[in-house]
Amino acid sequence: MVALVAGATIRTKKGQSLMQGYEFYVDPSRCIGCQSCVKACEECETHRGTSLINFDFIDRGGTTASAAYVCWHCEEPTCAMACPTDAIKKGDDGIVQSSLKSRCIGCSNCVLACPFGIPKIFPEYEQMMKCDMCYDRTSIGKKPMCATVCPSQALCYVRPEVIAHRREKPTNVFQFGNQKIVTRVHMMVPAETDSVSLDVLDYIWEESYAVFAQPQ
């Protein structure tokens, strides 16, 4: 008789997926570019052989800086809003899921709409797939795979009181032009900064453009 090992099967109940009291934090300043997360995501039971981590060397010519991202799981997901077939659903737990295969028409609206550049179309599966924060693991009390293996804990899944010991502080508010986005996943930023704009306009000294406060 073959005994099943916990974690080797997928049993998820929607709404009960996340580990109580744990939050996901992303800190690019800790990332060492090793891509352990990319390789571990590929091992996941639900999408074996396909990594759903977004990884980049920012500008290897200039710096070793690198960034590994999971989906940010927006409160109001732009990808879902842009989907013409209502194929992208957010669970009660705040997790935004991959497209429903039966509805997804592979139009790439979500890919173009997401301000973080997270969703990807996989032609071989005929659908959009993205990070679902390891439903299969969190639903049985295990941390997401990437956050478990990450050697520098640039990706980590811990309780807020643990993250409070860090130099950097978490935020989950992002500003893209006039769009303010609140996310389930937190970004670690230097202590005095609540959120950082990536739009040059916000830094230009011209009153008509200054819609967003300068970070101090």
Binding site: V2, A3, L4, V5, G7, A8, T9, S29, R30, C31, I32, G33, C34, Q35, S36, V38, K39, A40, E42, E43, E45, R48, G49, F57, R60, G61, G62, T63, T64, A65, S66, K143, M145, T148, V149, C150, P151, S152, Q153, H165, R166, R167
Partner: protein, 745 residues
Amino acid sequence: MAEPPVSLKSLLERFGPHPAYTPPGGWQDESHNLAERLVKTHCCFCGQQCGIQLKVRRNQVIGFEPWEEFPFNRGMLCPKGVKRYMQGGHPDRLLDPLMRTPQGFRVSSWDEALGFTARRLQETQAKYGKDSVAIYGGASLISEKAYLLGKFARVALGTRHIDYNGRLCMVSAGVAYKLAFGVDRSPFPWSDIPKAQVVLVAGANVAECAPITTDYLWRCRDDGGKLIIVDPRMTPICRNADMYLPVRPGTDLALYMGLLHVILRDGLERRDFISAHTIGFEQVAESARAWDPRTVAEKTGVPPESIERAACLFAKAERAIVLHARGVEHQSKGVENCLALINLCLATGNIGREGAGCAMITGQGNGQGGREHGQKCDQLPGQRSIDDSEARAHTAKVWGICPEDIPQAGYSAVEIMEAIHRGEIKALLSACFNPLVSLPDAKFTQEALKKLEFFGVVDFFMSETAHHADVVLAGSLQEEEEGIGCTAEGRVIHIQKAVDPPGNAKGDSWIYCELAKRLGKGQFFPYTSTREIYDELREASRGGHADYYGITYEKIDKNMGVFWPCPSLDHPGTPRLFEDGRSFHPDGKHHFVVTEWRDSGDPVSSEFPIYLTTGRVVSQYLSGTQTRRIGGLLEQCPNPRLEIHPRLAEQYKIDDGDWVTVTTRRNQITLQAMVVKTIRPDTVFIPYHWPAGRSANRLTHRTLDPRSKIPEYKVSACQLRGADGPPEWSLWSPEQPSEPKKGKA
């Protein structure tokens, strides 16, 4: 004549490396869901030996699961750890013993291969003497295999020439720690790192070569700790450093003498500690006098202000730690570099207490354990010296032979290859060592291999070196035999057997015992399990510095590892050394040792004006025999690239992605350039994991540290020129997943 029997191309076609991208059965195979058991064991791909659980089904490792309870890495793994499970079922795996014929390698029976090997070794010794045969071991072997190999060389063969590839890794640090402290081990557990107020990282690319240690550094920073990084390259951890000192290759010693100079000049040394616990301070203080910041700056290229500031930061900390690795150790003054760092710690009283001290980051999987029990040319089990008559008597008693029958110290790894080249050593048996890729001056190594009258290899994949073998004995992976390892921290860990070797491959320990039988020494090798070997190792190490007597497999499991020395069964082990203020020297004192400046063995000149330094990338391990076969790792960095600063690149009209020929006094290779601002503009860097036309070790030189016998991999002199086009290797290299891309790295 140990030349490859057939063309390289046909050897590569048959034996690989063929990169495997999918696990056995493919990604979509549902059976991976049905792991029969999880085996708690350890990663084999660096000296940290992280805890990992292997998923096993039908005698095959089919995946992994993080092991969050293991205290060192708490589930964390680097990409090598994530993909390590891909080796067992790999299509290149050797499943039978192979004998060489003029038409290539043919499969043979074990009886034939072992009989042939034993006969050739005996014939060689009969004709040329006992010492005409040498053994190469590997630091990645579990300690039982390493112990057995040492005993096999000395008892079954009676040769004095046995050494191992840890000679290319940890020996400079080992010699320095023995000189200063009387023992070769990092003196504290890694949990001390976050407790330090200052951590000086000297020549250690922590992010890529010991990735899990990064988290310890970051936790140190979270508590306000300061990081000082010394490296000719801005490695990934430099982004968060408080100070970065871009030292010129080969000048580290000057920098550390400069730090000591400033500390003594400003009276920041800890006189009370120095007088109570050390000897030799006055001589070292005298030798530091010449190294004022200005002189040091000229030598090292580090600004005088940085030297002043780093010295103050380090000396004023209540608790300071030094972590060092191959950057300082792979030099012809590797021992000096380590001693200079130890002197800094001793002068500031940073040893033997929590959050303070000097530690080496051991590089190879079981790099610590693999060097403690007798496969080093000058050591017997338990870190005992082979010249010590008491040590010889103890070991001889455990082995059941006369002390006089234990041969004296033999040659080190590079010296063995040199003795083969000059015809003094005629036969070589090599286990899990790929010297053609990992020894310096690869052309010389190749010439030497061709001169061997007999060459036997024990390995699980056909390495580039094994192409030259007369016989290849299909051995076992780490997870195929039970045993122990010892981590960079000095923590003895339990390697569980997850599966049996596949096909007709055998456990390495069985192979040595069978060979011993055929050499007429079977009575000294009666083991039926590695546990029996381990029990003998415990006895052999008893009373030595690396005393394992009180450590059993069960005790390791219960305590998540046991730190040696552990002299009795009720002893808890020793996570932190020297807490009683005493070193392992008979006088109990920590020894300051005077260091001496020497120039590199391959100095830059007008003809070879650029420094060449070599190292690792995060996705590859050592000579790549294992990791160049794992597609998921290979695609991260398919081929070595030449890291070069834009300023130097402009001077030679080199663009990112251009083919560049690098020439040293020995040889040349052609690689693509990776133009990055993260390296000194007088230095280029090449990772060394690849063979032949991509081998950084075609360029390196055989200058050794006179005491540790480590080669000077980190400092060579080279010249550069733009190549006319892609080199031959780029057209057909088997590991290449796709055409090399121009542009982004």
